[in-house]
């Protein structure tokens, strides 16, 4: 899982792997990309893998007898195996391809939720969820008359685990939470949270959109029931994501969408569902994107997830230290040692949009808004924050340009 840990991490070499990083955003102004929590940039190998697939192997999968169809099927299923291994899932057939994390969570809500939940059942979420792990449960709660409870976020940006233990006494059927907050950067103590949830018989689901790209994730060790993530935040293409599920759960769940590929036998008024994972992959899937997803995993493994984590830690520590010198600026979330490479902040009396706009003038890409976590912003009484997020290709110089940009923001608004 960790790759070649004996070679040095060379960030300039890594940058050379990402074509977009070489472009000028405006004449003479380089790109400083600090928005990887929204989507990561793509290395040449991923772009090339997808292009080669279309140029040499393109065919529909699982049906054709011809050579191209066999090659395409093999490419698609090989990608599945790589990705399953990457998160240490027990078997590749427990890894379902979806469009993204959002669709993975919706799949569980509609397939597992509709079968196993009924009026009055409780679902336990947290106040730091991305809308993708909130709205699907609001929808299914409305349909089935379920009760939603929330683990509160403390003022430091951590989950209040004392309240969590109290809420577990209400016997939730499901505990669904993010591995890492896309706003606060908080990395939740999943192992403990999952163990506690299991002790009251709850099923667990984790939104891994911000974790899988940035540090080693070991599904078998976490003993989680469902785990969702997206390719596009981990150097892969948009349009494809994955859902890991516990085998017995997946096998007993009804299909999510109906159509081709998800069936074993069809009659006019009935069908027999296919085996997992195909049962959940109706219609022609995103084949080239699966190939790109596999290439992204190859790329990350070659660099080494441990080293990516270490590099991001260094950048995050440096950023937080430098931000201390910017007057009237407050960073959300826990201290550096408990935080991933996501730094959301606000500057007194200056709106996040204006901060992002002025930074963009210097080619610095950050995100401004509520980052699809509006209830969390409401809790902290902030309409919006600005967020800088890092990845393996960011440098100390990127952070220095970002800090200089913030000084400029203050000058314009002084």
């Amino acid at each position: 899982m960790t790759g070649n840990s004996n070679t040095r991490f060379d960030v300039q070499q890594v940058r050379g792997d990402f074509p977009v990083l070489a472009r000028e955003i405006r004449p003479g102004i380089p790109l400083t990309y600090l928005d990887s929590a929204a989507t990561s940039q793509k290395p040449e190998t991923v772009i090339q893998a997808m292009s080669t697939y279309y140029q040499e192997n393109n065919a529909n999968i699982h049906r054709g007898i011809h050579k191209l169809a066999e090659e395409a099927t093999l490419a698609y299923e090989t990608a599945r195996e790589k990705i399953a291994r990457f998160i240490n899932a027990p078997a590749a057939d427990q890894l379902i391809f979806t469009r993204n994390t959002t669709e993975s969570i919706n799949l569980v809500a509609y397939s597992w939720g509709r079968k196993y939940l009924s009026a009055g059942d409780r679902i336990l979420l947290t106040e730091m969820e991305h809308h993708s792990n909130l709205i699907p449960w609001q929808l299914i709660a409305g349909e089935l008359d379920l009760v939603l409870d929330f683990i509160p976020v403390t003022s430091e940006g951590n989950l209040d685990l004392d309240v969590y233990h109290d809420l577990l006494k209400k016997n939730p059927k499901l505990v669904a939470l993010t591995h890492m907050s896309n706003v606060l950067g908080t990395i939740n103590p999943l192992k403990e949270i999952i163990r506690n949830a299991k002790s009251v018989g709850a099923i667990t689901l984790v939104d891994g959109a911000q974790s899988v790209p940035h540090f080693p994730v070991d599904i078998a060790n976490l003993e989680v029931d469902f785990y969702a993530f997206s390719a596009h935040k981990m150097c892969g293409p948009t349009g494809i994501g994955a859902l890991y599920g516990r085998k017995d759960l997946l096998e007993n769940m009804p299909p999510f969408l109906g159509g081709g590929e998800m069936i074993k036998r069809v009659e006019l008024r009935s069908f027999k569902a296919n085996d997992i994972p195909h049962k959940f992959e109706a219609g022609t899937p995103a084949i080239a994107e699966a190939v790109g997803f596999g290439a992204a995993v190859d790329y990350l493994l070659e660099i080494g997830m441990d080293r990516i984590e270490e590099h991001e830690k260094l950048l995050t520590n440096y950023t937080l230290e430098k931000l201390l010198d910017v007057p009237d600026l407050t960073v959300l979330g826990p201290p550096a040692e408990e935080k991933g490479g996501v730094v959301a902040f606000y500057i007194k009396d200056i709106h996040a949009h204006d901060v992002a706009q002025i930074l963009d003038g210097d080619g610095i890409a950050v995100r401004a808004g509520h980052h699809c976590a509006q209830p969390l912003h409401t809790k902290f009484n902030l309409p919006a924050t600005t967020r800088a997020s890092m990845y393996l290709y960011n440098t100390i110089e990127d952070i220095d340009r970002f800090i200089a940009g913030l000084q400029k923001v203050r000058d314009i608004f002084k």
């Binding site: 009396d349 709106h351 996040a352 949009h353 204006d354 706009q357 002025i358 003038g361 210097d362 401004a368 808004g369 509520h370 509006q374 912003h377 309409p383 919006a384 314009i412 608004f413």
Partner: protein, 129 residues
């Protein structure tokens, strides 16, 4: 970039001339920009001829959206409801004096959207009188 944050925009953002709430009022409407969670409310008072006598805004937003609100309200005092309806996107951009991309355009136009939604509500009441 400095052009983007013209002195006028920063000045109106920091010291708006038309910030507040009016109770009672003849028109009051509020709306959000879902992209950023910004929220603007506009209150308007009319005389017996449906001419705007007072107009103020409240809420949260960036410099572009709040300066846009302030300049918009300044421009509507003394206008009739019918004249208000003719305010366009170009009028707003002229007042701000900047060019905007699609995302920031939503910020700049939120106040106009709120005002028009309020005005058309009144328009319907008036026509049903």
């Amino acid at each position: 970039m400095e052009d983007f944050y013209r002195e006028l925009i920063i000045e109106r953002y920091k010291s708006p001339h038309f910030r507040g709430e009016l109770e009672p009022n003849d028109i009051s409407f509020e709306d959000d920009n879902p992209a950023c969670g910004d929220h603007i409310r506009i209150d308007v008072r009319l005389d017996e001829n449906h001419v705007v006598t007072e107009a103020v805004f409240s809420g949260e937003g960036c410099a572009i959206s709040l300066a846009s609100a302030d300049l918009l309200l300044e421009s509507i005092i003394g206008k009739t409801i019918e004249e208000l309806k003719e305010t366009t996107k170009e009028d707003i951009l002229d007042m701000l004096g900047i060019e905007l991309g699609p995302v920031r355009l939503k910020c700049a136009l939120l106040p106009l959207k709120v005002l028009k939604a309020g005005v058309y509500g009144v328009g319907e009441t008036i026509s049903s009188d």
